[in-house]
Symmetry: D2
Subunit: 296 residues, 4 copies
Amino acid sequence: MSNSQISSSDGERRFVLTLGCPDRTGIVAALAGFLTGVGGWITEAAYHSDPSTGWFFTRQAVRADSVAMPVEEFRGRFAEVAAMFGPEAEWSVTDSGAEKSVVLLVSKDSHCLTDILSRAERGDFPAQVSAVVGNHRDLEALTTRFGVPFHHVPFPKEGKAEAFAEVQRIVEGYDPNAIVLARFMQILPADLCEAWAGRAINIHHSFLPSFVGARPYHQAFDRGVKLIGATCHYVTADLDAGPIIEQDVSRIDHGYSAADMVSQGRDIETLVLARGVRWHLEHRVLVHDRKTVVFQ
Amino acid sequence: MSNSQISSSDGERRFVLTLGCPDRTGIVAALAGFLTGVGGWITEAAYHSDPSTGWFFTRQAVRADSVAMPVEEFRGRFAEVAAMFGPEAEWSVTDSGAEKSVVLLVSKDSHCLTDILSRAERGDFPAQVSAVVGNHRDLEALTTRFGVPFHHVPFPKEGKAEAFAEVQRIVEGYDPNAIVLARFMQILPADLCEAWAGRAINIHHSFLPSFVGARPYHQAFDRGVKLIGATCHYVTADLDAGPIIEQDVSRIDHGYSAADMVSQGRDIETLVLARGVRWHLEHRVLVHDRKTVVFQ
Amino acid sequence: MSNSQISSSDGERRFVLTLGCPDRTGIVAALAGFLTGVGGWITEAAYHSDPSTGWFFTRQAVRADSVAMPVEEFRGRFAEVAAMFGPEAEWSVTDSGAEKSVVLLVSKDSHCLTDILSRAERGDFPAQVSAVVGNHRDLEALTTRFGVPFHHVPFPKEGKAEAFAEVQRIVEGYDPNAIVLARFMQILPADLCEAWAGRAINIHHSFLPSFVGARPYHQAFDRGVKLIGATCHYVTADLDAGPIIEQDVSRIDHGYSAADMVSQGRDIETLVLARGVRWHLEHRVLVHDRKTVVFQ
Amino acid sequence: MSNSQISSSDGERRFVLTLGCPDRTGIVAALAGFLTGVGGWITEAAYHSDPSTGWFFTRQAVRADSVAMPVEEFRGRFAEVAAMFGPEAEWSVTDSGAEKSVVLLVSKDSHCLTDILSRAERGDFPAQVSAVVGNHRDLEALTTRFGVPFHHVPFPKEGKAEAFAEVQRIVEGYDPNAIVLARFMQILPADLCEAWAGRAINIHHSFLPSFVGARPYHQAFDRGVKLIGATCHYVTADLDAGPIIEQDVSRIDHGYSAADMVSQGRDIETLVLARGVRWHLEHRVLVHDRKTVVFQ
């Protein structure tokens, strides 16, 4: 888990570079040569070479003050290096000092929303919460108390397409780094999954792939499992089947009703979502096919 | 963990009986006979027989509607039974439908405070938060946003005794079921520990007995441990040595600075304190000598 | 978890009583009255009242030396009490001092086998291993080194029915308290599931209901989960769907190949199976419908 | 945890390079340049930059078949590069295909011993067990059953120095990569700690720094903790204060006697020791001052 906290806690600006490309010898040396050439003081460097796909992944962070240029120039110069890694290569260069933003989609459950609003307020989250969109008004007062705008978009049974269009319009007005479905109870249509690919993050209240779909705690109760779980994943058109970012579990026993699981599950949902979104915002999550590489 | 959730989630009123006394045969039968005699429908029953001390402990809950009498009468009739268990016996009878209250003592760290305020607000906590007392004003706005009164009591270096007297006066005005030190950075004087014995609950940010006292995360960093922890315990005059209610840990590695531990530790402190206070309020914690029996 | 260790570690004989029956008032009192009447010194007592099925479950242990009669008489006298609880009631009375026995079914993987043989040898297991049956000879030397007989029953593709008949004949010759499928790679036929209902225990190398069937670690690798797990359950004719006794998980990340998961998974499989079989042998597991009550 | 399993499970030979030195820019580039220059196909690369000490640490593995030279030559060429990193730099180059060996020191408890012997036997451990030394004969039969020599060295109260001299003579005859104190109940004298610095590994049956010294479970029982733990650490002359490699914990409750903790603790001791020794043998553990960097 090592380096994840360094950048967030010491508050120093970093340029963060991520790269995924077909593996071959010399990539690490090319990257290191480039970073040394620009005087980069590396504070984090993580690598993963995946034999099953033949791909190579890396994430590196350098102190911004060690590189005597703005991030745009750094990005431009890296583009020249990246060209060596082939047309399939996917890379990014970001400035940890740049403002980041998230928009949350919610329904009636407050636990994930409150947690993220509180983390952001106390300076313990790598983004500001720009807005909250709810299909009910239940969480409006809670949201505005934090000084965050709340948008109510009703979801009538006949009229979901229009509602989603409205949600999309609102969300995209904020141009957020992540759209977080914080116990939002509506299934995103395929076109929205497409439009927000790699940015829309959901928390599912089971240890996927167990208990896909509705009422997972009731499914868990019926099966008699001894642990309940939560899964943070990117949203795709395939329900609850997107790339998994983070999962965790919590012990229960025969004495738990489904309602008890709902209650206890809130804590694990809250933590798993907060971790997953944080890692996404810190560019620690690289997606390849249906899976993620997470450089914690 | 079984039965803890039943009473909280189904919302039905229970009469809860706890007993600790020197062990001997016949106690269980005497209790069961009493409960049957009053028509009690038992929903939870937990027992512990401790060979090291020779004591017996139990906690039982019956549906209030199965016992055709008010809690005062139930308590009175149980008193006659309890007399059999000797003069050392400690017991209580409470009505889960009675309003419970907590007062929180805080300083500048908001995570535990926000968590408990949020749980109480969403109806997921067995008490209301009657008031918050802070030795700084940092958390005043956060508190009052939840509609909870905030009392600021400054703690000047010369004048702590007066400050504690003021805190005591405020706290006792609310007659709370628990006084929760939610990252309160002042050490309670011995007389206050005595006055609040069995009601004052602290969260210490280490896995006690490791790292007693100040700056436990810095101590943990210096020692190079691979897990950090938190401990919820009753406050006694012996610093960080009171009976432990709950503990948990979180994995770190060599990449964590002390500041990173402080950041990550907030999540585990929050959960451990919330659990410990909940169990206390639900009369699941029986103290004997320096240890607890926790009937989850 | 409290009382599970008491009986195993202090070595004293107990009479253990389990009961499951439709819930109604007075059961606890009837039991307590009976136990008091025979002078029983209760060392463990656990209860569960299940609102979803309307059933009541209990397990109680009394010191054998406190009850001045042999277990057969104790059982006979309890049968009269149990008659009150209706024709559906299921109950048992056992003597913890009676010898218990298990038979293990294995294939080529040694980790679960070695672990149980070692626990039994060092006196840290509530049964002796009477025999091991393998469909290959790979684990014969390991088994006989512990002084335990090994039976080789080949499973030719055409001839599984005969092989299972032979396994059944061997196993039933030992009249074991549990038949443990310790990474046995053959699927029991329905009639054997029926014959061994409530005694045949399997370890499945996934967190069920995820990844039923063959090669669960490869399924886990393909899905990109962040935790792998193991499940100990009673064998039923419905593959990997029997009542779950115990589950646990272990963290992995993107760097784990399926082979790495196989390797790391061994530790969690070993622990989960050992716990599940122990609890079964100590009469801590009560089965009702497709689920278990586990009184740890 | 990612890459630790790759090398062990795919069975391919690697050259493994570790380095610790004062941090400055250009180290990563120098390493990458060197590895590229020799044609090294990097399969694992982990870095840690420690702001508190100003040191830099790395561990890298390359496929041996990608480097057209024997390990001695590779080591020699790296020595020239390493010279750039200053006189304090500590580094190693090893061949994962080279045979590794451990010697175990034991007393009467068999759980850690059996576990390591079993892992080694089934090919799931990165070393062979060359010998076992015991201060009692209790574990002799168990050891020799695995075909491993057992040396009995009695430790009379008057004569420990001679006994330790004998142990040292035996151990050093095997020139092991690790000397593992697998619940060895004798305290190593300072000169032996010195002679075996960085190679002698102990398992302590508590979550250090809690409960240093004798009978930690009894200390834990007296304090009433809610989790028990185990710590794997390098042995130094300062009792139970050496650099920590790995720790883990296990939940208990008020029902556990000290003897129950001893019993349950065996599982966590076994796992923590096995992990710690494995990481040591795979050159994943770099020691600096009193702490470790562990590149899992």
